[in-house]
Assembly symmetry: D3
Homo-oligomer: 136 residues x 6
Amino acid sequence: MKATVYRKEHFNSAHRLNNPLWTEEKNKEVFGKCNNQNFHGHNYELIVRVTGDIDQDTGYVIDMKILSDIIKVNVLDRFDHKNLNLDTEEFLNLNPTAENIAMVIWNILRQKIEVGYELKIFLYETERNYVEYPHA
Amino acid sequence: MKATVYRKEHFNSAHRLNNPLWTEEKNKEVFGKCNNQNFHGHNYELIVRVTGDIDQDTGYVIDMKILSDIIKVNVLDRFDHKNLNLDTEEFLNLNPTAENIAMVIWNILRQKIEVGYELKIFLYETERNYVEYPHA
Amino acid sequence: MKATVYRKEHFNSAHRLNNPLWTEEKNKEVFGKCNNQNFHGHNYELIVRVTGDIDQDTGYVIDMKILSDIIKVNVLDRFDHKNLNLDTEEFLNLNPTAENIAMVIWNILRQKIEVGYELKIFLYETERNYVEYPHA
Amino acid sequence: MKATVYRKEHFNSAHRLNNPLWTEEKNKEVFGKCNNQNFHGHNYELIVRVTGDIDQDTGYVIDMKILSDIIKVNVLDRFDHKNLNLDTEEFLNLNPTAENIAMVIWNILRQKIEVGYELKIFLYETERNYVEYPHA
Amino acid sequence: MKATVYRKEHFNSAHRLNNPLWTEEKNKEVFGKCNNQNFHGHNYELIVRVTGDIDQDTGYVIDMKILSDIIKVNVLDRFDHKNLNLDTEEFLNLNPTAENIAMVIWNILRQKIEVGYELKIFLYETERNYVEYPHA
Amino acid sequence: MKATVYRKEHFNSAHRLNNPLWTEEKNKEVFGKCNNQNFHGHNYELIVRVTGDIDQDTGYVIDMKILSDIIKVNVLDRFDHKNLNLDTEEFLNLNPTAENIAMVIWNILRQKIEVGYELKIFLYETERNYVEYPHA
């Protein structure tokens, strides 16, 4: 018997959208206010979705405390109260759009969650804009 | 690399559920309070889901400001603060249930969003009743 | 020992803002989209606040099932799935703004809730616009 | 034309996680605070998802009042304001984790909803922990 | 310069409403499903409101981490994942209604938060039923 | 007849908590992660509360479109997608805590909203931490 479980966490970060290969004008035109050179920020809501068998002994797909700890150590400690552009290796050469942040988080967690589980990331940049990786 | 993005918008409309081929009694029996001849209304929450490649230059699946503008011009300007039964062409001969409104919005947006993108509509009629089109 | 309790309910109505003493132009100028002659609508969220002594036998300020029934019979049955302008006596000669709807609901419930209780109404027209009556 | 509809309901229950084949120590180690022998409880949010054809006469996939009544009679009346471990047959020999509760609800509703409809259950134990059955 | 700050926490508990001086019939009549002898439970949302001067050196009314720790040690550790009727001293002889729980929490925190601060408790038993103590 | 109206808006900003008169160690000790020198950020939810007479001609305390425009021009255009510490005059010499941001917004709006109206600001830094100015 398989089921899917979801764990919601959050982190608060500063970021800026910018393509260093483009002119300043092109960056302003494409990224608008999100290109502000001194950064802006978000309360990111992160939902980690894990699919697997329901364990007969526990009734769990995965222990949510363990899942929460994996997220905390590998994602929140890395990105919470940080500047994604300046304080992290992951976005030194990658534009920290919601799409890319979700992809980076998936890549990080995929190494930490047993391969038998299917994994998906939902990331809310605001209540009105959010992303899913891998795609639906 | 593909990802899926979601954009949430809202509009406020009046509507009434009614099948003109049925008797008044049959309509009352099936649609209950929703058949009230003087209409009632809702704050509709609309979520537009778009799946596509993450653009290497922007880190975007689609520019959310552009997506939001497409929704505004083609959906909100058409349905917001309107009576769906009386003020719109789309529901002259179609019962404005949440299912049908979602289908109509999908048909409208499908013409406006490049064919390479997959498109899905979620529409909340209330916090407790909502629909997805095309089906899950 | 006094405490304050809150009960949240909702109703869905059509309405239109209009001042019959004004010209059509003036009404459009002041009420904009809300003046649409064929109505629009909302999911109204209603919060009824009651302050009183904590009863020593029950531990209740007021029985929430009784409070909920009072609201249902006197407010929801009157306004839910109705057109406020056409289907109700209360708004025949009163513009159904959120302020006025809250005042009308307070006047109705004030007759039905014992005078020893303090009463206040919060009414959400949308998630972003709401009112409190009597004033804070 | 197929669409998918969602109906949200809720119930409040007490429960305790425990595996009777394990020692008390093992249960405490695995289930932590959730093993508390005198129980704790939750406001469970239940979302029932139904996929099917949009009926040409009604514009409905399924009448939401009928769906809501089916959930009320078969799920809420059984589990609301109950102790899942002590008051229900379903969890006499099954650990009432969110995964198992969702599976039990799916099994109950699958008997009550016509076979032509696809059925899925989402169950929120808290705002941060929720499950989907069958799996995504 | 005074301001007011709010901190939201939550805990999950089982409880039962019952007046031991009453007959079983009277208890069932007054408390209905909440009287179930095997308990039910809730996700309680707790909001602690503190009013005081904005400190000129920090810009804080109170350090929210310190406030959160005070709530954790004195309230959550006492009530989270507990049976309020069986596992706590506070409700051995006090009916654990939302009103009484809020009063008990206020009495506990009033001892732990400096007297110069004004203190108020909001407690959500469900999304639709909540209380404020002391009264508004 | 007086009533109170609320308008909810939001803005996304980067900030850092720091007292320039203190040592680096003292700042780290007091402000913790919020002292990160490269900033972090938030989705700020702003609620502006206005109390006044219900106008007999409109049924409004204040036109919500006008109130929303005042907030947009004077607050959102100033703080949205900005770094509060680097991009604004208001926080050059003032620590951008939620308390101080709320006070600054109140001071700005107090100049723009007629003196006959009472004004209050609620500011959510996160879903769990928020402030009210002037104090409750």
